[in-house]
């Protein structure tokens, strides 16, 4: 019994951390630029394919990280310059444009890699005992890395000069520009950061899930709901949101099946729109 509780607890921690990490990129772009990037899931998908490619060529798993940053960073940059730049503050247009982008990336992946499911061999095989329960080592690594990434990002955003500049830009773009901040470069940097974060989380999950062109759809919805429930604009809100969505989903799915888990997540998100449209954690 105790083992079961311990196993379930670690599973829950794992699910929540993973969800929070997957949401980071979306939260950065939505929270700071006001753009709901519907192609977020596709950047995760591309990141996962980077891991697939690296493994197929027999390179070490970690080389997927620079590859993902290179690929998704440059795609993100090109998209920002060609499309997003002219659309900031036109929420609806950005929605449609990023939706089109998601389609483009998905169809491109389909054209290049085909529809088959790929899997990536885990870089850390074996298990480690946690509270007497053997747990897959790679999942533990995900928990550790994910928690660190969230923590570092929160500190950086609150304390760094760039964080301050970004906050100034989101607060009042015209004023920030008149103070000599290069709003264009900051916005591009933020967008690229968001796409790279998505890609890195994609690399991270590649050994855990089947990789296929349509995998991003599910992630963009889940991570969006995390942000709806958690509230925009703070890392702590993101963690709350991941706790609520990931926790509810795992709990309901454990007792019934995945469909009900998914249904409960949608109901929760609609309930939040009704009751707390700004989420659990609202920043000042």
């Amino acid at each position: 019994m105790q083992d079961l509780i311990a196993a379930q607890t670690i599973n829950l921690i794992y699910a929540v951390t993973l969800l929070a990490v997957l949401s980071l990129g979306l939260a950065v772009i939505f929270g700071l630029l006001g753009v709901l990037n519907l192609a977020h899931g596709e950047f995760i998908m591309l990141g996962a394919y980077c891991a697939v490619v690296v493994r197929q060529n027999g390179w070490p798993f970690l080389t997927a990280i620079p590859l993902a940053i290179l690929v998704c960073g440059s795609i993100g940059y090109v998209i920002e310059v060609l499309i997003m730049r002219r659309l900031y503050r036109r929420t609806f247009d950005t929605l449609v444009a990023t939706w089109g982008l998601s389609l483009l990336l998905r169809k491109s992946a389909e054209a290049v890699f085909g529809l088959t499911y790929r899997s990536v061999e885990t870089p850390l095989p074996g298990t480690i005992d946690v509270f007497g329960v053997p747990y897959p080592a790679y999942r533990l690594a995900v928990i550790g890395l994910g928690a660190t990434a969230i923590f570092v990002l929160a500190i950086w955003y609150g304390n760094s000069r760039t964080g301050l500049r970004i906050r100034a830009m989101t607060g009042n773009p015209e004023l920030a520009q008149s103070l000599g901040l290069s709003v264009k470069r900051l916005a591009a940097g933020t967008f690229v950061t968001g796409t790279c974060l998505a890609a890195l989380s994609g690399v991270m999950i590649a050994p855990l899930v089947p990789v296929f062109p349509y995998m991003g759809l599910d992630y963009v919805l889940r991570t969006f709901f995390v942000i709806v429930v958690g509230g925009l604009g703070s890392v702590i809100g993101l963690v709350y949101g991941a706790l609520a969505i990931g926790g509810l989903d795992s709990a309901v799915s454990a007792f019934s099946n995945g469909t009900y888990g998914y249904l409960s997540v949608i109901v929760l998100a609609i309930a939040f729109l009704w009751l707390r449209p700004r989420g659990i954690h609202v920043r000042g």
């Binding site: 709901l36 499309i83 002219r86 659309l87 929420t91 609806f92 247009d93 929605l95 449609v96 444009a97 939706w99 089109g100 982008l101 389609l103 483009l104 169809k107 491109s108 389909e110 054209a111 349509y214 759809l217 599910d218 919805l221 969006f224 709901f225 709806v228 099946n257 995945g258 469909t259 998914y262 249904l263 949608i266 998100a269 609609i270 729109l273 009704w274 449209p277 000042g284």
Partner: protein
């Protein structure tokens, strides 16, 4: 010959021009087009993007499948078939009410929820095998009696498409369509005219769901099978692409998009690997650079086919429900409004009498516009009540305050509907308090006029050039258009927020005349926020001075000018 007739002739010619297989293909794509028209209606008219619209197509297809299978043994059950489409429409309407009502949210949140529901439906239909047949779907669905040949199916699909187009055309030509387009441009302004915008949006979504449902119902009979694909993401996405590329702003746009992209895709998908990448690129390009889509390119042809629009005579509008009712007292009692730590209104008491013209003055940040926002229900008071006669306004929605209390408003920045014509702008104001729910479905109601409108047109000639778009007007003309619209609703209390801002001296003096005339002609009480003291001198029967969210002084213009407190807050300004 009109464009509509040309279209119908093309539809009739297809069976003779192409072979059996093309006919079969067309029958299927006509049904998809029916659903795409629904997406176009929602997105192009109301500005709400449904990302999971296959949901309604699929719900109706499954329901129709059940009915058709059951109807094999009990033919009378086939009479229930129309319910399949209707249920899809009702579900869409319910979702619309549920999501729009609370926060009026119709941007990303709404789109994402429709997307999520469509994915959920895919999971349910895949997993609930005992009912839906699981991943393989419902099979061996008998076709409707009489619809067993390719030709008959083609005729049924074509008839459904023509019917939906005719219905859609009628909606777009009716006042409801005008209100939808107005909502897409400035939802707040529509609500301030007393229309329940969330309900209107839900109606639009419900109708677009119904359209998709009609397509789905016939689909089940025509194809003979229904799989989870019809509720899922793939079809949802394609409906959006077809509507966008064809042109979401018009009714035929989505049809052309569906027929062109749809058939090309089924031709090229297998031979040309990057075809779908290409459609994605064309989607992005169209959405960003050619919002009117392919059909926009054909505009000149359509206009040539349709010829000049006929000008018809105006119709006298019914008398406003508010006509002649004496204004009652508008009382703001101990109202406090906070934004975070900042006190915007601090236990404000304001008794705005019930006749004549009052002016509210005060330095920037005194809480003048916020007072209006509280009265018209756009800003919530954390304490205190606002009453109009014995009506408590504080907890009422903005549109109900405008409609039931008859509180009209002109906003600080001229806010008209830029992409609507002058006539349409004025008509929206006329419908407020006059049009019943069924009037909103009667196209000729767009030709309403009223004595006030005739007099306004005599004063301002530009109001008569009805076909011009409001966006073509100058700043001053837009101020006057919005003022005219506010007057046309025959409000009992008219709140004007800096009606003369940015006007030339000449324009200012005509506006002063109009305000005076309107208050006498309609018997309404007028409350004006104004900075310009010369204007206050000319207009005000009573003056209220706000400072830091409270009432500093009230009285006649003379009394206020003599008031020491007022002088001290305006010190250095000497006005």
């Amino acid at each position: 010959m009109s464009a509509a007739k040309a279209g119908i002739m093309v539809v009739l010619a297809v069976p003779f021009a192409f072979g059996e297989y093309a006919l079969y293909q067309m029958s299927l794509y006509f049904l998809y087009a029916v659903a795409a028209v629904g997406v176009g209606l929602c997105w192009g008219q109301v500005g709400v993007l449904p990302l999971g619209h296959a949901l309604f197509f699929g719900i109706a297809a499954y329901l129709a499948g059940f009915v058709l299978i059951a109807g094999d043994n009990a033919p009378w059950l086939l009479l229930l078939l129309p319910l399949a489409a209707l249920v899809a429409g009702i579900i869409a309407f319910a979702i619309g009410i549920l999501v729009f009502r609370r926060v009026g949210e119709s941007g990303p949140y709404f789109s994402m929820i429709t997307l999520a529901l469509s994915l959920l439906a895919f999971q349910v239909t895949t997993n609930w095998a005992s009912l839906t047949g699981g991943f393989d779907g419902l099979k061996d669905i008998p076709s409707l009696p009489g619809l067993d040949s390719t030709m008959a199916n083609y005729a049924a699909s074509a008839a459904a498409l023509v019917a939906v187009l005719a219905g859609g055309h009628w909606l777009m030509a009716s006042p409801l369509g005008v209100l939808w387009r107005a909502i897409a441009q400035n939802e707040r302004r529509v609500a301030l005219f007393g229309f329940n915008t969330n309900l209107l949006k839900a109606v639009a979504f419900g109708i677009s769901g119904l359209f998709a449902g009609i397509g789905g119902t016939i689909y089940a009979s025509q194809q003979g099978f229904v799989t989870p694909q019809v509720v899922g993401f793939g079809l949802s996405a394609e409906l959006v692409i077809w509507a966008a590329v064809g042109g979401r702003g018009s009714l035929v746009g989505p049809v052309i998009g569906t027929l062109l992209i749809g058939t090309l895709t089924s031709e090229l998908r297998d031979t040309f690997r990057f075809w779908e990448v290409l459609t994605a690129v064309s989607f992005i390009v169209v959405v960003l650079f050619f919002p009117s889509g392919l059909v926009g390119l054909m505009d000149p042809v359509v206009r040539w086919l349709d010829g000049k629009p006929k000008v018809r005579d105006d119709i006298e509008a019914p008398v406003s429900v508010r006509n002649g009712a004496p204004p009652r007292r508008l009382k703001i009692d101990q109202v406090t409004v906070r934004a975070g730590e900042v006190l915007i209104l601090d236990r404000l008491n304001l008794d705005l009498g019930s006749k004549g013209i009052s002016c509210i003055i005060g330095p920037n940040g005194a809480g003048k516009t916020s007072t209006f926002n509280v009265v018209s229900g756009e800003m919530r008071a954390s304490q205190g009540v606002v009453t109009y006669g014995d009506l408590v306004l504080t907890r009422m929605a903005a549109h109900r305050i405008a409609a039931t209390a008859g509180i009209g408003r002109k906003l600080q920045f001229p806010s008209v509907f830029p992409d609507l014509s002058i006539a349409e702008n004025l008509a929206i104001a006329l419908w407020s308090g006059r049009a019943s729910a069924s009037d909103l479905l009667r196209p000729w109601v767009r030709r309403w006029t009223s004595p006030l409108l005739r007099q306004l047109r005599l004063r301002y000639a530009f109001l008569s050039s009805g076909a011009r778009k409001a966006s073509e007007l100058s700043h001053g003309e837009r101020q006057i258009l919005e003022l005219s619209m506010a007057i046309l609703t025959e409000p009992r209390i008219l709140l004007l927020d800096e009606p003369c801002a940015g006007l030339s001296p000449d324009e200012t003096s005509t506006v002063i005349d109009v305000i005076r005339w309107a208050s006498e002609a309609t018997g309404c009480a007028v409350v004006i926020i104004e900075h310009d003291m010369s204007l206050v001198l000319k207009l005000a029967d009573a003056v209220y001075v706000l400072h830091n969210g409270t009432l500093l002084a009230r009285g006649s213009v003379k009394e206020i000018q003599a008031n020491e407190d007022v002088r001290s807050i305006y010190a250095g300004n000497r006005k």
